[in-house]
């Protein structure tokens, strides 16, 4: 790293002292300009590019102390090193000068050897400052690029989410609040064939671009695994629960085969038989789905945990069976909902979520969704969520 070029401004109302200092600075290879008082100097310094000021203390219009104070208020990122020429070395004067932003002092009458030593110190400080500024600029550029990539990842993530939809008597709606770091939540509902519909939510561990990219890939893998399991299971006459478990196991194999990140994901996967109303629910380390069998009946958690996807080749998952009746609701959500912390660091919690949902079983699905979204935003007003907040609900009409 080459040292920064020094462009100095000499500020003194004695033209001979100015001429001497400029000649001395030029003999050291500096660019040197001059001003007769603090006010004129300040005008010159607004033109960015000076990094060294040698100023007398006693001057008309604006003295050296006021000039240094004003220099420290100037906008701009680069540092201006200030040396005060002073004949008053009293302690009070030194303290006032340093508080005004003076970096160093040179006593008058000037001794050029001392001045040279002070300038070498200034060169060292300016070289450090220049190196720091260059590092900061590189960091800023890297941060800007990362921010742009996160924005793109977030936009792609949101663009992948399905629109609210209905499949026969089944209606789906959701809320999604992206975290400031880009999380790894994804969810979907899709009809696989005339009889079967898959409905799932997943959360890739960690945050950032890696989690988002894994989420994209996993989303497609899970869809493919669901289609494969339904096709195979239907041909072979498997029960619905076996088909659902097969889908999750196949997805687990695909996920383990492709991932190289050490990340895993949690999943709640439901396979719905639209002819019978039967639901097979597989839970893989995800918060338990909440089920309300009919309007007015409270939501209860379904499932007992299970191993997340991507940890072991054999997860040992089992399916829970539900039979849907008109008015039933099944809610899948990510831990970004229940772990969301308010200003007092209190989590939103499952109990609060269930109470909120229980109070809305008699209302429409969009109203329930709006109530949850409002409660989440009220829980953490004005600040970004630390994790994706995802909740997707199915209702039987």
């Amino acid at each position: 790293m080459s040292p920064p070029a020094i462009r100095a401004l000499v500020v003194d109302d004695d033209p001979l002292i100015v001429a001497l200092l400029c000649a001395f600075l030029q003999s050291r290879g500096y660019a040197a300009e001059h001003a007769p008082d603090g006010a004129s100097a300040l005008e010159r310094l607004r033109d960015d590019g000076f990094n060294l000021v040698l100023t007398d203390r006693v001057m008309p219009r604006m003295d050296g102390l006021a000039l240094c104070r004003a220099i420290r208020q100037l906008p701009g990122d680069s540092y201006i090193y200030c040396i005060m020429l002073t004949s008053s070395a009293e302690e009070e004067s030194l303290v006032a000068s340093m508080e005004a932003g003076v970096d160093d002092f040179v006593a008058k009458p000037l001794r050029l050897g001392e001045l040279g030593a002070r300038l070498r110190a200034a060169e060292r400080v300016l070289a450090l400052e220049s190196g720091l500024a260059q590092q900061n600029e590189r960091l800023r550029q890297a941060y800007d690029q990362l921010s742009r990539e996160l924005e793109i990842a977030r936009a792609l993530q949101v663009g992948q989410l399905p629109p609210p939809a209905a499949f026969g008597p089944l209606r789906f709606d959701w809320i999604f609040e992206a975290s400031s770091y880009v999380g790894g939540d994804f969810f979907d509902y899709a009809q696989i064939d005339e009889r079967h519909l898959s409905f799932f939510i997943a959360d890739v561990s960690g945050h950032g671009v890696a989690a988002a990219m894994i989420a994209f890939s996993a989303h497609h893998q899970l869809r493919a695994a669901s289609q494969q399991a339904v096709a195979t299971g239907s041909r072979s006459g498997w029960p619905l629960g076996a088909i659902a478990v097969s889908a999750v196991e196949d997805f687990n194999r695909r996920f383990i085969a492709t991932k190289e990140t050490g990340l895993y994901l949690t999943l709640a996967f439901a396979l719905v038989d639209m002819q019978t109303g039967e639901v097979a629910l597989v839970q893989a380390g995800h918060p338990p789905p909440l089920y309300s069998p009919a309007p007015g009946l409270p939501f209860t958690p379904v499932g007992e945990g299970g191993l997340p996807v991507g940890i072991l080749e054999q997860g040992g998952w089992e399916a829970q069976a539900l039979r849907l009746q008109p008015g039933a609701r099944l809610v899948l959500y990510s831990d970004g909902v229940t772990d969301c912390r308010d200003a007092a660091d209190q989590p939103f919690g499952e109990d609060r979520l269930r109470a909120l949902l229980d109070g809305k079983t008699g209302t429409s699905l969009p109203r329930m969704r709006a109530a949850v979204r409002g409660a989440m935003r009220d829980w953490r007003p004005g600040t970004a969520f630390e994790d994706d907040v995802s909740l997707v609900a199915m209702e039987v009409r």
Binding site: D14, L16, I17, L20, A23, S27, M59, P109, L110
Partner: protein, 111 residues
């Protein structure tokens, strides 16, 4: 600017300062007279202070050490008087004597 050029410039500035000395001392004398005529006006005393301050710094810098020390002493006397609100014309008498001494030091300065 190569070092030789700087030494040449330094020599030229030293000579120029010596030539300016009578003019600088005369400026100080006129400013002191103005202060004596109007002791209460702070700005007049401030102008005199700046002139003597410049003379003090430049004298030592350009090789006239004794003149620089004398000017520095006078500068301190002016600063002390500047801090007094009850100045009268007679308070400037010591300054006049100090300025006379500077004239003497300037005349006897080594070439």
């Amino acid at each position: 600017m190569p070092d030789d050029d700087f030494q040449l410039a330094m020599g030229r500035l030293r000579e120029e300062f010596r030539q300016q000395l009578p003019e600088r001392l005369e400026l100080a004398r006129r400013q002191l007279a103005a202060c004596e005529a109007d002791p209460g006006t702070a700005e007049l005393l401030e102008q005199l202070y700046r002139t003597v301050h410049s003379l003090s710094g430049a004298s030592g810098t350009f090789g006239l050490a004794e003149l620089g020390i004398g000017a520095r002493s006078l500068e301190l006397d002016i600063a002390a008087l500047r801090d007094r609100a009850d100045r009268g014309a007679t308070d400037f008498t010591p300054l006049r004597q100090g300025l006379q001494e500077l004239h003497g030091l300037a005349r006897s300065a080594p070439r």
